[in-house]
Symmetry: C2
Subunit: 211 residues, 2 copies
Amino acid sequence: MTTEQSKSDISRARILDAAAKTFRQKGYAATTLIEIARAADMQAGSLYYHFGSKDELLEEVLDIGMRRVHEAVEESQEHLPPGSSHRDRIRAAVEAHLTTLLKLDDYTSANIRIFGQIPEDVRRRHIKLRNAYAELWRRILAKAQKSRALRSDIDLGLVRMLLMGALNWSVEWNQPGRTSIQTMADYMCLMLFSGIGIDEPARNSEDETVA
Amino acid sequence: MTTEQSKSDISRARILDAAAKTFRQKGYAATTLIEIARAADMQAGSLYYHFGSKDELLEEVLDIGMRRVHEAVEESQEHLPPGSSHRDRIRAAVEAHLTTLLKLDDYTSANIRIFGQIPEDVRRRHIKLRNAYAELWRRILAKAQKSRALRSDIDLGLVRMLLMGALNWSVEWNQPGRTSIQTMADYMCLMLFSGIGIDEPARNSEDETVA
DNA sequence: CATTTTTTCTAACACTAGTTCGATTTTAAA
DNA sequence: TTTAAAATCGAACTAGTGTTAGAAAAAATG
């Protein structure tokens, strides 16, 4: 009983890690307890000493993943240098979200990837954490809008959905080492704040190089 | 042999529809042939008269879904009013993508939702269509950039990923009748071209209403 | 109407999943 | 070292899966 509580807790953590990793890779239904057990250096039956069922294990993985992004983004807002602009705040939130999602956190990425495949009752119990996280973003964006950092004539709910989509989808294509999280956050914020368009010169009937 | 070829083709289509619908709802591994058969008013064993295996059925659903978005976006580019700006072109592509994805096309939405869960060899065979679709978008964006409708100093690959993410993620949250596809496309293009930021007044040290 | 082909059903098979539980090992306490 | 508790194993059970193949029904053909 030095660092953690006991061998039980260590095994528990090992199982959860293995589960998160496997769930993220293969999805929920396709992941077998045998695989999880193997990844945790155990026998499938032994898992039941720590968890009552596959769904219970799933639920804990999901909860942990969601709490981690939530905490990461929350901390990003608290640890900002004084006098930071609202753009800085949002940029920090974006970066925190992406970092948690893509950098060595199987829990969060598993959560994002498999949320659409989980059993009804697990979803019902987990949804509260999801809503709480959504509320955090709602606050961040609303505050920026109120302070005139974001246009006042827009529906922030829709913007938030599109934003989350752009960020979350990165778990599907991001390959570690290809594009840095900073760059991704830069581009995301560029699109959010300024866009990448150039005012087009009146009309263009010069070149019709279409298919 | 009037409209389609025979009863076989009708049943085939009915099975594919049922499969697309069920795959979209429950995911790949969690979907059983019994469910698909029931949704198609058949017995599970009868499916094998039309398809050699579950994976073969899956593959066809995926392919159809991808071809449909591809064709829809391609047509959107051909049916543009003459003299359309590049913003108009992109906007049309966005709308076509969203429409196919959200409006009564279980094939495309199934494709987007379950792509991350499919068996390796199915993916390997399907990936070509995915790449072809990506190439279509690459062309559209590159053309806009070359014509100075988009900033020339940006990585279009990354922009495309974020854009696709924002659009694709809508299958996870969109509820029919809540937000119109037009509105979604409007907001997406607004963010892409202009952003929703307002130039902040120098510095803000007035109110520190942070948590 | 008879007969052949096409399509579907039915029942079974092989296999794998999640789960259970008594035996066994490991760990901690006395 | 002895002993009790904690943790894991291992083998079995049940349920449900994808799949097969021969029987039955439906449709098409002569």
